[in-house]
Symmetry: C2
Subunit: 517 residues, 2 copies
């Protein structure tokens, strides 16, 4: 079966998945949002330059530690100044390397209809990634488990406003870490047909993930490597370190033609300076050093710059999210990303422990920061609680309501000004005494004129009370259950599923990945 | 006592009020935010022009009904085409009148330190206004009552992020409507020293309000009329009508030198076209017709244009707020307001019935619409629920947390890029192994580097659970109680208080205002 045949057949699959979705809730169709608005830019040109020069000075005068001998050897070969594990690189080198990165690229998963453009005006959203714990209204907080993992993967597939399957939405600790990546990738690749992420946690895990994505796509080695099919996200160990497995994963993914996001986790006042400009500058330095490595090794390889700069609570040291400082840091990083010509990743995050008011104002703030910063890829956009330590299905559904609204907000139809939109004739027809419900202009448009909510209750208080006075989190709980009860996996050819199963079985027999346990 | 003396003494009062505030929570100081960001502008120049021309065509070809004979006579005198109560006015007339309105002005309340600049880059926030019902976690939903009214007025005064006292935060139906305005204004003017609003609900009410603001400010008639001391907000009766008392109030306020906000309530699909451009165009027509009247009668009188354009749920007809359509309509109206050179009013609103997740994502959306539209005055910014039918103290506190964050977000210190902010020396000092908590650069800044929350709980799940697992609404409930228990009214000279009391007593003896009851 050729790629072209597969493409046509996959169209049918996506159509089926959408129809299946309608059974639980009436959600928006799959689409790739284009962000039409000019980003908000707090910095003037001098400000952008000050942060850039600050980052360059950190890299050239202080240097950054690469706890990966291969990377150190590569930097040495490239003419950087190496002292043990510390690498110093000058602005000319960094900028020459960064300029090699493509400003835009596309990641194509097993269903080509789910291909995601990265960069430019595109903005795509993914599920919460990596919490060790699960929380819902029935269970309370429990350690991550495979059934919970599976539920989040189903929600990830179900919601059209979720464009990619990020890291594990919850860590299933009931699966042994040596084989966890095999089971998790198998679930992700069979329960979703969207772009997937793989962890850079050692040679075996990242190589297994690439092989499984290749098999799931029915691709030859050559076809897999020809264009990005998946991505990894690596974090620096702030301040000023890149660890072995992350850099190893970056090199393996880049050499296989896959996409890499580099996201320093720079909490101002803890792992980074207490000033936001200082924290952003450090984050830029850490990110660009890894991207420079990637671009030296594989010129033109797909890179993204990530931001996870926020602040801590100076009373307790606890991380805070969706704060004023977080929002401006995200916008500042966006300005720098455009200065470097790199696509940008940010997040939908909060510090709240349960899906209540605080959770939603913090998450809204972080999502508005994404929207106004020129972000292209929004990680953790649905389901995140407790600073990333908890994944919650209620929060997932609530976030999807917000994401749907933001995606509708980006559709030009909302602010169209054709004569039909200005509606002079309707205004004349209704005059000063009539009502617009009944007029022809309304009747022709009312089914699609406005955003239709999924978890919001717009009834008045009395109707809402008669129906049980159910608060948002409980409504979201019920919606998640209904979606999961109705879930249908996207189709996959039997031969491909069997090949995936055989691969997983063989790798388990071989012992999977080494662990420290 | 001269105005100058009063100004100096009032400074001491404001200082006292701030100190008093510290006892319940550690809130941000009083300040007038400047919005540094370029507004988000969905419309191109053609789009702005299309909406403008649509509004002009409505006014010139269809006309608008003024249910106020004085207004009709004035329009006739001005050369407009009058047919019964319907007034048609052409673009030249409307634009000539609108150009008379000042782009910026200042409203000065009894405490001159609380003076509010309107227009330009300024953005100020006020309490929820006009709900008939009160809701809190203890009482549930009950009809508005005077003790509840007083509590909201105290919260309005207490929070520094609330800049003005809008309409009644809840309607105290336990006070007879003939004298309600006297009691309510007395409470507002003695419990707050901030800019106050007065309802345009008949000659007696608006004249009494102006007189009481004059007395509370210790002003002569001449001093009161010399500069804006208060404002009213009038709503059109969409579609295409202005009623008697609102226009009467507009004329009385304008002739007394006071500020007028004109806010059509155009729900797309109900009182306005189902298309947002049509609804905004109708709203602009209705607003400008009243502003034209005001500017014809009192050239240069302080006017503001308000937007309350949202959409209904097309399934139920219920009004929706904070929707994608609401956000874009607010931004579109902002573009038109700048086209006309008028300051803009919008709102912090939601459809949710209780202070839960939905309440906060809807309110966040409407506040972000205010922030990105160039809004100068944000009505209903704290305490609003159920589409304006409920005022809630919990929601008030939760909204103030969001408002504080937005106000902090506007402070240039957050994105400053001086060499001290870039913090190269600190990065060098900490290097790759240290931590930023301990370094000198952090120690010098940590007390004021970051936003400090009031209702957010940033502790981890276990600490939060040990402390009772309290969700946001319940925390806000406790905070409101603590603030009210500690509340201290701003100082007022005995002589002024007695003059206010005497005025209220006399007007009550005279029967107050006529009612239809």
């Amino acid at each position: 079966m050729s790629d072209e045949q597969r493409r046509r057949r996959s169209g049918g699959r996506a159509g089926h998945a959408e129809r299946a979705g309608v059974r639980a809730i009436d959600q928006m169709p799959w689409r790739i949002p284009l962000n039409p608005d000019r980003p908000i830019e707090p910095l003037d040109q001098d400000g952008v330059n000050a942060i850039h020069k600050g980052a360059m000075r950190v890299l050239s005068e202080i240097g950054i530690r690469f706890l990966n001998p291969e990377a150190v050897a590569i930097f040495k070969e490239a003419g950087c100044i190496v002292d043990g594990e510390t690498v110093r690189m000058d602005e000319d080198f960094v900028m020459e390397m960064v300029r090699r990165a493509p400003p835009e690229f596309t990641i194509t998963p097993r269903n080509p209809d789910r291909a995601l453009p990265m960069g430019g005006k595109h903005i795509v959203f993914g599920n919460v990634s990596s919490p060790p714990n699960y929380w819902d209204l029935e269970r309370g907080k429990v350690s991550g488990f495979m059934d919970g993992f599976r539920d989040f993967i189903k929600l990830t597939q179900y919601f059209n406003c979720i464009h990619f399957a990020g890291g594990y939405p919850v860590e299933p600790i009931d699966i042994h870490p040596s084989v966890r990546h095999l089971d998790c990738l198998y679930e992700k690749l069979t329960l979703t047909d969207k772009v997937t992420h793989a962890y850079a946690l050692g040679k075996e895990r990242i190589e297994d993930a690439m092989e499984m994505v290749r098999i799931a796509g029915g691709l030859s080695d050559e076809a897999f490597r020809a264009t990005p099919r998946m991505f990894t996200n690596i974090n620096s160990v702030s301040p000023l370190k890149h660890d072995f497995p992350m850099i190893d994963g970056l090199l393996r993914m880049a050499r296989a033609g896959q996409a890499v996001v580099v996201t320093p986790f720079t909490l101002a006042g803890a792992m980074a300076p207490v000033t936001m400009a200082g924290a952003v500058s450090l984050s830029i330095a850490e990110a660009l050093s890894a991207i420079a490595l990637q671009q030296y090794v594989v010129p033109g390889s797909p890179s993204m710059i990530g931001t996870f700069t926020s602040n801590v609570d100076m009373k307790s040291g606890a991380p805070a999210f969706g704060t004023p400082e977080y929002m401006r840091a995200t916008q500042m990083t966006g300005q720098l990303a455009r200065f470097y010509g790199l696509p940008l990743r940010s997040s939908g995050v909060c510090a709240a422990n349960v899906p209540d008011g605080q959770a939603m104002w913090e998450t809204s703030n972080s999502l508005w920061a994404a929207m106004t910063s020129g972000t292209n890829l929004v990680y953790h956009a649905a389901g995140w609680l407790e600073g990333g330590l908890i994944a919650s299905p209620e929060k997932f559904v609530m976030d999807c309501e917000v994401l749907q609204m933001l995606q509708r907000y980006m559709e030009p139809q909302v602010w169209a000004t054709t004569p039909e939109d200005i509606a002079f004739d309707a205004v004349q027809e209704v005059g000063a005494e009539g009502h617009y419900f009944g007029c022809q202009h309304t009747q022709e448009r009312y089914t699609s004129a406005f955003y239709a909510p999924i978890a919001s209750d717009w009834r008045n208080f009395e109707a809402w009370k008669l129906d049980g006075a159910v608060w948002t989190a409980e409504r979201a709980h019920r919606i998640a259950k209904a979606i999961l009860a109705d879930f249908q996996a996207p189709p996959m050819e039997d031969a491909i599923r069997e090949e995936l199963q055989a691969f997983v079985a063989r790798r388990k027999e071989e012992g999977g990945a080494p662990t420290d346990f």
